[in-house]
Symmetry: C2
Subunit: 207 residues, 2 copies
């Protein structure tokens, strides 16, 4: 697995491969060619072969790809061979929604705690996970080997959380606040900017 200098465009396609291969697997399909996969996933066969060959030769000439093997390989590339401890900061509606997503847990993202500053929310239990006072954030995440924080605060609280994260062993942030966080280079940030997404939709809608 010679993954280096892989472009972001390729990486962002990987979860989609993973999703479609899972579906093929569930339908008991044993093998697939880049041409057949192209038809269902919507990438060109050429692109599929190029993408996969960034990580190794997973196919076999004249045969195609073994669905199960390829699914597992892509899972490995995506880091799904181990578990990750996570916490949510901001136990409002969105935080609670994420806490209830069972698919994250199934993929190995294990929610260890939720944090808030609102006394009315602190102490609640959501999907078996306690909402804790933000005061104990730093000790909790370090004691529990938490690697990923989902930031579900509002815009104004998000950078404060990011600042506190930088004093802990947290390695990655999944940010849902509508702001671009300023953090150290070595902290990974993935943004879900809902409003940006909605505005892209309205761009196309505005005939």
């Amino acid at each position: 697995m010679k993954d280096r200098n892989i472009s972001l465009a390729v990486i962002r396609r990987l979860p989609k491969y993973h999703r479609y291969l899972k579906e093929l697997l569930d339908n008991d399909i044993k093998r697939i060619s880049s041409k057949e996969l192209s038809k269902i996933i919507g990438f060109t066969a050429s692109q599929i072969r190029q993408d996969l060959n960034n990580f190794g030769g997973f196919g076999q000439q004249g045969y195609g790809y073994n669905v199960e093997d390829l699914y597992n390989e892509i899972g490995k590339i995506l880091g799904l061979t181990r578990n990750y401890n996570t916490v949510i900061v901001g136990a409002g509606n969105l935080g609670q929604a994420l806490a209830n997503y069972s698919s994250f847990d199934r993929l190995g993202f294990n929610l260890k705690g939720m944090f808030d500053i609102n006394p009315k929310i602190i102490g609640l239990t959501i999907n078996d996970v306690k909402v804790i006072d933000m005061d104990s954030f730093e000790t909790f995440v370090n004691d529990n080997n938490v690697e990923i924080v989902y930031i579900c605060t509002n815009r104004d609280g998000a950078q404060d959380v990011a600042d506190r994260i930088q004093k802990t062993n947290i390695k990655a942030i999944w940010n849902f606040a509508p702001i671009d966080l300023k953090v150290r280079e070595d902290i990974i940030v993935e943004n879900v900017h809902l409003i940006d997404n909605l505005l892209t939709l309205s761009y196309f809608l505005k005939e």
Copy 2:
């Protein structure tokens, strides 16, 4: 505004311009050059000028861009000069979270109703919006000139909703289910594939 053949890459940057210009506006900054904007937004000055010139010459040589004008122009391009009626299908945690987002309403996306098939949820009122039985979906959306549906069902229900949408006057779908919907060409679909996003994060985290 000669917008045609604009690449998706450009369009997806527009909401970010909109967001940063709003911030400048809030800070009473009257004008900005592509060079200064480059520093705060992180795109090159050259790219900023190229992007904006896809839609018209909004700047002035020797001066830069008027922040307020540019903000308004980008708002226009993004379709923010009118309101859109919306509904949510799937009034679970995520649906409720979206219903409580005030920023969508502020931008002109007005939530008119929420739908579910669960009798325990039907009849609830969330942020002043009623949860209605999915049985009345088609009549409701047509009677209320609804243009956008947020799909917040699980994976399995999403395509069924999409199929029913195609028999109404709905023009766009904001899809949160982890599936690529099959719909007519003229229906606009924007996906928020949370799991894809999380897996991109774990790709980088898996050292």
